[in-house]
């Protein structure tokens, strides 16, 4: 009796071991499972995807454009009666289309500035981490300096001097958003560089480029993904602040910050002009933050 039970257990153990051997669980697979278990993060991902899709395709299918005045409906409240579901602004422009077009700009600035600052941060941090010594301390001094600078004011100065072109706004935001990534990547690079498996790879004669791409880069990816999601809301927020201050993209082109500024001016008479773009921006930022939290929980190797 006892023996048969033990036998069964051994068999079960063998079976599960065999299963485990067949089904290797990579870090990324684990992370995916953990991420999709997080309801808030998944919901945020869906909402953010819907907002993005609406911003991309909405203006194509809706019957209005972002710059044309509807002379019969100026400054009307949201209504289901005609096609101005979000109402119109004081110039009779359809607010729904303007919100979506503004979302395009805000999300695009967010995406481009994030990609640029993440790339810069990785290159900067990885270089500093690999080189070490004098190069490292000089590069990190520059990062410290960037932190000490009142970035919003310098961003204002740059936009004033360089103009309010879309790509210059992206550049301005990028210049002040890459330092976190550089610090984190440098720290991680230093940590990985001294790990046993890298040493072992060196010892058995693996070439340096191969060590970098085979052992160091994959281990950087997790933390890069986490900090990228932290960067996105910050970048979108900075663009909105610049736009709100009248230093972003120019009329009739718009962004959420511009729309919020317009709305703040007329909120006693027509509060919806403020509330729709403000709501969209807040929801987007919220979603980005929750997705970031979800990814962090999913990818943080300390949190097994």
């Amino acid at each position: 009796m006892m023996q048969s039970k033990q036998k069964a257990m051994t068999a079960a153990l063998d079976n599960s071991l065999a299963d485990a051997a067949v089904e290797g669980r990579s870090l990324w697979r684990d992370a995916r499972v953990r991420f999709f278990r997080n309801k808030a993060a998944v919901l945020s991902l869906i909402v953010l995807a819907l907002i993005t899709l609406a911003c991309i395709f909405g203006p194509m299918v809706l019957p209005h454009t972002y710059e044309d005045t509807d002379w019969d409906a100026m400054g009307i409240a949201p209504t289901l009666a005609n096609t101005h579901w979000f109402g119109t602004d004081a110039l009779g422009r359809d607010l729904l289309v303007r919100c979506l077009i503004g979302g395009r700009i805000s999300l695009m600035v967010g995406a481009l500035a994030t990609i640029a600052s993440v790339a810069l941060g990785i290159v900067w941090g990885a270089t500093a981490g690999f080189m070490g010594g004098k190069v490292d301390s000089l590069m990190m001094r520059i990062v410290d300096m960037m932190y000490a600078v009142p970035y919003l004011l310098i961003a204002i100065l740059m936009v004033t001097l360089l103009g309010r072109d879309f790509y210059l706004v992206v550049l301005t935001i990028t210049v002040f958003s890459w330092m976190d990534m550089a610090r984190v990547v440098r720290g991680q690079t230093l940590a990985i560089k001294s790990k046993e498996y890298v040493e072992a790879a060196h010892a058995i004669g693996v070439s340096t480029p191969k060590i970098i791409f085979r052992h160091i880069v994959p281990n950087l990816l997790g933390i890069v993904v986490i900090y990228t999601t932290v960067t996105v809301p910050g970048v979108i927020l900075t663009e909105s602040v610049l736009s709100f201050l009248g230093l972003g993209v120019q009329e009739p082109m718009t962004s959420w910050g511009v729309l919020i500024q317009d709305g703040a001016g007329v909120m006693d008479a027509s509060p919806w002009i403020l509330l729709f773009p403000a709501g969209l921006l807040s929801v987007t930022l919220y979603c980005a933050n929750y997705i970031g939290d979800g990814l962090r929980d999913a990818l943080d190797p300390k949190d097994r």
Partner: protein, 306 residues
């Protein structure tokens, strides 16, 4: 301590120089000079003007002149506001920003710490969630959304307070801007305070104090508060700096004549010297305040070696 202070002071110089130099170069890379106006100025007058402002010299000499006047505390003349020097404009704007920002940071310190303690003592209870929800309003919404909403509720809806403007430090006009800054600041202070208080309350010396039978009040106020405040000190510096010097959004929302409003107007009018002067000034203030916070931290925290 003295050598640490000395090293920290020395380390600020390259930062300041780098910021000033980059901004100065940016300013001079842009096309157009200050006297390229609509009105044609005769060549002789132009030459005199350029000589007066050293614009006829090579760039590096102009730069040295600028540094020299900065060292004498002179930020130059404004391009747009005739008869005003940047110093005059700053002199009028700085007290406004300092009053609003300074007042707000003191209030948010008290409220934030109180909220953090309450939440930490009732960790994971309904009270904790409610308190943190209140504390997080400022963190969840961007300031330029929360500001107009405050105006909508308290100025337009309830008509308790003016929607904006400024009347020579009259308290009525200061309440809403300060409330906005307080909302923003307490979300950070409250969260940090809650976290550090929970950590401190779980440590051994608090358990000892409890074992001695001390009342909770004494434990919190006499034993736990001081160590729990250390992380708050480290966030209060940046918060104070941003409340005073970079309250750009707040001052725009409420139309306050402070530093932030000045720089936004300067940017809109392309008043280069004004914006450059303000950036230099704010950088100096920021760097000095950061330095003071670091030094205070080193003094307060026995664990920090220097």
């Amino acid at each position: 301590m003295w050598s640490y202070t000395f090293r920290r002071v020395l380390a600020t110089i390259p930062t300041l120089l780098a910021v000033i130099t980059v901004c100065y170069l940016l300013l001079h890379l842009t096309p157009g000079g200050p006297f390229d106006g609509e009105r044609k100025v005769s060549a002789a007058v132009l030459a005199n003007l350029q000589a007066k402002y050293h614009l006829d010299l090579p760039l590096w000499q102009q730069y040295l002149y600028y540094i020299k006047s900065l060292l004498q505390g002179d930020l130059g003349a404004s391009f747009r506001y005739a008869d005003w020097s940047v110093n005059d404009l700053v002199g009028k704007a700085l007290p406004v920003s300092a009053a609003i920002g300074g007042g707000a940071i003191v209030i948010s310190l008290f409220i934030g710490v109180a909220l953090g303690i309450v939440a930490a003592l009732r960790q994971n209870s309904l009270i904790d969630y409610l308190v943190m929800l209140l504390g997080n309003i400022g963190g969840a919404f961007p300031s330029f959304v929360l500001g107009p909403v405050l105006v909508m509720v308290f100025a337009i809806g309830l008509e308790w307070l003016p929607a904006g403007g400024w009347d020579d430090f009259a308290l009525r006009y200061m309440v809403l801007p300060m409330a906005l800054l307080v909302f923003i600041n307490i979300s950070t202070i409250g969260r940090v305070m809650r976290g550090s208080m929970i950590e401190v309350l779980g440590s051994n010396f608090i358990r000892t104090a409890r074992a001695k039978g001390l009342p909770m009040r004494t434990i919190v106020l006499r034993h736990a508060l001081k160590p729990a405040l250390m992380p708050v000190v480290s966030v209060i510096g940046p918060l104070a700096i941003s409340s005073i010097t970079a309250a750009v959004v707040t001052e725009t929302v409420f139309g306050l004549p402070g530093l932030g409003k000045l720089i936004v107007n300067g940017a809109a009018n392309r008043d280069y010297t004004l914006v450059l002067g303000l950036v230099v000034l704010v950088t100096v203030i920021t760097v000095v305040l950061n330095l003071l916070v670091d030094l205070a931290y080193a003094l307060l925290d026995p664990k920090i070696r220097y």
